[in-house]
């Protein structure tokens, strides 16, 4: 049982590490801010979930797991929000997506 949990946890941790790596490469290689944020969001979502769940499996049923769960919830709430705030701030500041042809009306973020 513990071996199974260990294997599962290492698989999750490796996949999480890969997600972070992919996110990092994407954030460097993508052409403009919005696509970079899109790539970096892989780190926030998949990376965070996989790594934290992986660590939770290592921690077992303990207080640490509850704390990790709280961290995960916090990350899942805050990182999309900060991405949203960043993107809308960039749009308001006049950063346009590089591939964009049509004009976005001035009203907004949507």
């Amino acid at each position: 049982m513990t071996t199974l949990l260990d294997i599962l946890s290492w698989v999750l941790l490796t996949l999480g590490g890969l997600s972070v790596l992919v996110g990092g490469i994407g954030a460097l290689r993508m052409p403009d801010l919005y696509t970079r944020m899109h790539a970096a969001s892989v780190t926030d979502s998949m990376g965070a979930i996989l790594i934290l769940v992986g660590i939770m499996l290592q921690a077992g049923w303990s207080l640490a797991t509850i704390k990790l769960l709280a961290v995960l919830l916090f990350l899942l709430l805050t990182s999309p929000t900060s991405s949203n705030a960043l993107a809308s701030a960039a749009l308001l500041a006049g950063t346009r997506p590089s591939g964009e042809q049509h004009k976005i009306n001035d009203e907004g973020e949507e």
Binding site: F74, T78, T81, N84, A85
Partner: protein, 324 residues
């Protein structure tokens, strides 16, 4: 393994420091300084200094970034081009670096059990804390009780810093005099941050209280809790507008909080004298000396937390009031 992590984090720290020096965009510099703080906090944590790491993360990466940004809102985003003597500054920096590197030769090696820090008073603290104070977190015992004078001094330093900033920036124009349109509305038109912020702020405050009162058992204490609670209220101010935050905690209340912390701390010290002990000797606060120590630490940590919250919020509002 830990050494490798430490070297990795320190390398990133050096890279960040070089980037901070090289950029002339102050906004970028502020963000990089937040990252630098987070890196050094990670490094502190690797060295098992969880209390310091928590403080550095809360104050360095959290609050100071916000305060720097508030200051940036008052000035320009670009650094002014300098025409100073580059050779002179290079010489000074090189000489200072040489001296610092030379000084490290005298330092004990990493993890050396014979290092002065391990042989001087630390063993005594570790040995006597269970007997005198009986709390698991020795750092809190040292900070609150054994070295209570130092912490009292730190609280007064925080108070002095707050007073200094308020003197320089003023505690803000009278609020009623501004026309309503000019009042900073924060991000009230942005639905998503507001909703999430509303969900999170109570938990941030709760976490702050946890850090405050759990400091005797785990990493935490007044300094960290004060920074976290202040961060929660600053988040409220950013989302709902500074005026709403000021109507929750008016400037006069903040001034009261700033002064109340050192007052509480000092009062606990005086109470020690009145009850027949020494200044800041908590043993006499209760019939059981150990209980008395715990009560004293709880009270002075509360004083520290109250002051730090008050000062940080006061500084934030002073900056925001200048921006109006």
């Amino acid at each position: 393994m830990i050494v490798i992590f430490g070297i990795f984090l320190l390398t990133l720290l050096v890279i960040t420091a070089i980037a901070i020096v090289r950029t002339d965009n102050l906004f970028v510099a502020v963000m990089l300084m937040g990252i630098a703080s987070l890196l050094i906090a990670g490094n502190f944590f690797l060295l098992d200094a969880a209390d310091v790491a928590l403080t550095e993360a809360a104050v360095g990466a959290g609050i100071s970034t916000v305060l720097f940004l508030s200051a940036l809102a008052l000035t320009s985003e670009r650094e002014r081009a300098r025409s100073s003597n580059k050779i002179l500054s290079f010489t000074v920096v090189t000489a200072a670096a040489m001296i610092l590197i030379y000084a490290t030769f005298d330092k004990p090696r990493f993890g050396d059990p014979e290092a002065p820090a391990q042989t001087h008073v630390a063993p005594w603290y570790l040995e006597k804390t269970p007997e005198y104070i009986d709390i698991p977190n020795v750092v809190t015992a040292v900070l609150g009780s054994f070295r209570g004078y130092d912490t009292l001094g730190e609280v007064f330093v925080v108070l002095t810093a707050g007073i200094g900033v308020l003197f320089l920036l003023g505690s803000g124009a009278p609020l009623g005099s501004l026309p309503q349109e000019q009042v900073n509305e924060g991000l009230r038109h942005h639905l998503i941050p507001r909703v999430i912020g509303r969900v999170l702020i109570p938990f941030i405050l709760l976490f702050g209280l946890y850090v405050q009162f759990h400091g005797e058992y785990g990493p935490g204490g007044g300094f960290q809790a004060g920074a976290i609670i202040a961060a929660g209220i600053i988040l409220f101010a950013l989302l709902e507008g500074e005026q709403r935050a000021l109507s929750v905690l008016p400037a006069r209340v903040l001034l009261g909080l700033m002064a109340f912390g050192p007052l509480l701390y000092g009062a606990v010290g005086i109470a020690g004298i009145v009850l027949g002990g020494n200044f800041l000797d908590y043993s006499v606060l209760s019939s059981d000396p150990v209980k008395g120590q715990q009560l004293g630490i709880l009270l002075i940590e509360a004083g520290v937390g109250i002051t730090v919250t008050g000062v940080l919020l006061g500084i934030f509002h002073a900056f925001a009031a200048r921006g109006r």
